[in-house]
């Protein structure tokens, strides 16, 4: 393993080779995008603050807060499936702060006539991405259609609907019951939503429970969910797979399968994705799409123990010494680790060993 690479750099390297091996091509893009694209799709963005500036010709541009919108903008409805991956920085306001952050993202998008295979392939790549980050990882899979289908049967306001979806995302059964009572929602719907809240875990047991609720759960969507779970189990990834309806995304943009990936010791989801046919429609496309992003900045938490020293060897030389010999000594000592040649010990500098250049030449002469 190359120790010069940080944990994040190694992960990016691994992910890119996994995506390339499945026929995904790198999509390289500019850091800037016309602001208008974000103004039209503001709700799709994780944070609605965008860094804007005027181009030399007066056009309002933005530093990209998102990659997916740019990829859709540059895609056309065409034959076949467009498979791309990216490795880009995005600029967003960090939650709970009023300052922008540069966030490194690696992700992929699969755009076109999305079928069961495409969904399974993207989920497989999401699972492989998590495995390449940590063995202790979990991929939560949900089906937004199942949740929306239950809620849409009730004649309730958009506000109550979004509150119910939020509660499912929080596994907040007690507030679902209260909300349903207040909004006059039937017991069947209330019970079904509570079941979606408290039913999670290994696909086998969850699917068995969901199948027993055939009166309220759309069988077509359930079989779609089952098919992808079976495909991933077949790939030997069953252990890391959970069905969990707390994975909720904005149903105005997303539909169908949605998923999030977690690794132990990182407090937030490191991977997030789903099917976003509705966003495609909003942007005037007929085809469907599915994709995900890996939040590389979160992986700093996984960094193996910090380096104990700034440098392995601190080589102290006197002014006027033989420069050629000094360079030679640095190269020789460099074979055993990092070397810093200095005239004196720098402030707050840590090193594993200190060698004086005179001593090196003495040793060599001896």
């Amino acid at each position: 393993m190359n120790t010069v690479l940080t944990n994040e750099e190694q992960v990016i390297f691994n992910l890119r080779s996994v995506y390339e091996s499945y026929g995904y091509n790198r999509f390289k893009m500019s850091k800037f995008e016309e602001y208008d694209l974000y103004a039209r799709n503001k709700d799709f963005l994780i944070s609605d603050s965008v860094i804007t500036f005027n181009d030399a010709n007066g056009k309002l541009l933005a530093l990209k807060p998102d990659v997916t919108l740019s990829i859709i903008k540059n895609s056309e409805d065409a034959k076949g499936i467009k498979k791309v991956y990216y490795n880009e920085n995005v600029y967003r306001v960090a939650k709970g702060t009023h300052s922008f952050k540069e966030i490194m993202q690696v992700g992929l998008e699969c755009i076109g006539d999305i079928d069961g295979y495409c969904i399974a392939e993207v989920l497989l790549l999401a699972a492989k991405s998590l495995k390449s980050i940590s063995e202790a990882s979990v991929l939560d899979i949900s089906h937004l259609g199942i949740v929306a289908d239950i809620i849409d049967r009730e004649a309730i306001s958009a506000d109550v609907k979004s509150k119910l979806v939020k509660c499912i995302g929080e596994k907040n059964e007690h507030d679902i019951i209260k909300l349903c009572e207040e909004a006059g929602i039937g017991d069947d719907c209330s019970a079904a939503l509570c079941t979606l809240c408290n039913t999670y875990g290994a696909p086998k047991s969850v699917l068995a429970k969901l199948k027993s609720m055939s009166a309220v759960i759309n069988p077509f969507m359930l079989s779609e969910l089952e098919a992808v779970c079976l495909a991933l189990e077949n790939e030997g990834l069953g252990d890391m797979l959970h069905i969990d309806f707390s994975v909720v995304s904005d149903i105005n943009y997303y539909n169908g399968i949605a998923f999030k990936g977690f690794v132990e010791s990182v407090p937030d989801a490191v991977l997030s994705g789903g099917q976003y046919d509705r966003l495609m429609q909003k942007m005037g496309r007929k085809s469907g799409a599915i994709g995900f992003a890996v939040y590389i900045d979160l992986l700093q938490r996984l960094e193996v123990a910090d380096k104990k020293y700034d440098v392995d060897t601190l080589l102290i030389y006197n002014e006027g010494c033989d420069i050629a010999k000094l360079l030679e000594a640095v190269a020789t000592l460099g074979k055993e680790g990092s070397v810093s040649a200095q005239k004196q010990i720098p402030d707050k500098f840590t090193y594993r060993r200190l060698i004086k250049f005179d001593e090196v030449t003495e040793i060599e002469n001896a």
Partner: protein
């Protein structure tokens, strides 16, 4: 054994909550010692407790320093942390309310001046009613704002209403009932789910008995 990190809110509510954890089998006797320590652990049962300011519990849990914690619904509504809200403990009950001087009459022609510690809750409540408001964010002694004509109304937590009464104020509307909630970090729930579920189960049984 994986340790479960629990953030408890300092104060009476936290003591009540700890008693529930103890009954659930997660005792840590050192927590009852009279000292200024903030972190207590019992390796034998795999639990580590820490006392934090009640309004900070959600931050500790969302950021993963604590796997679970207990926070008031007011804090959850105000800061909207990305956490699981697993159980309503049905303790620490109060309500978020709009209060004003007894002779207050709302004039819809004027922007309503609202003094509060809970800007987000006040903002969304009045937005849902389509009322134009001017938020005055205060950090304490909210009750004096209408008396000194700093604001028309206040949005604050009301428990017994005694403070309001003593300051000649009264409740005009209830925004939402408040109680303590057991919250969990989403990632921690994936890897320590069994133990967290055990705690939720015991809390549910204890709450049922006390009803």
């Amino acid at each position: 054994m994986k340790m479960l990190n629990v953030a408890l809110p300092k104060g009476r509510l936290g003591e009540k909550v700890y008693a529930m954890f103890e009954k659930a089998g997660f005792e840590c006797h050192s927590i009852k010692e009279n000292n200024r320590k903030l972190i207590f652990e019992n390796e034998a049962v795999g639990v580590r407790y820490f006392w934090v300011k009640p309004s900070d519990v959600a931050i500790y849990v969302e950021r993963g320093a604590a796997d679970i914690g207990v926070a008031g619904k007011d804090i959850l509504l105000e800061y909207e942390p990305d956490v699981y809200e697993l159980f309503d403990l049905d303790i620490g009950k109060c309500r978020m309310a709009v209060a004003a001087k007894k002779d207050f009459r709302d004039n819809p022609n004027h922007t309503l001046r609202v003094a509060t510690k809970f800007s987000n809750i006040a903002q969304s409540y009045y937005a849902s009613k389509g009322r134009d408001i001017d938020i005055i964010h205060l950090n304490g002694s909210i009750e004096i704002a209408p008396i000194l004509d700093l604001s028309d109304v206040i949005v604050d937590i009301v428990e017994t209403g005694t403070t309001l009464k003593e300051n000649d104020l009264e409740v005009f509307e209830t925004i939402v009932p408040i109680s303590a909630r057991l919250i969990a970090n989403k990632s921690a729930f994936k890897f320590k789910g069994d133990i967290i579920e055990k705690i939720v189960g015991s809390m549910a049984a204890q709450t049922e008995v006390s009803k």
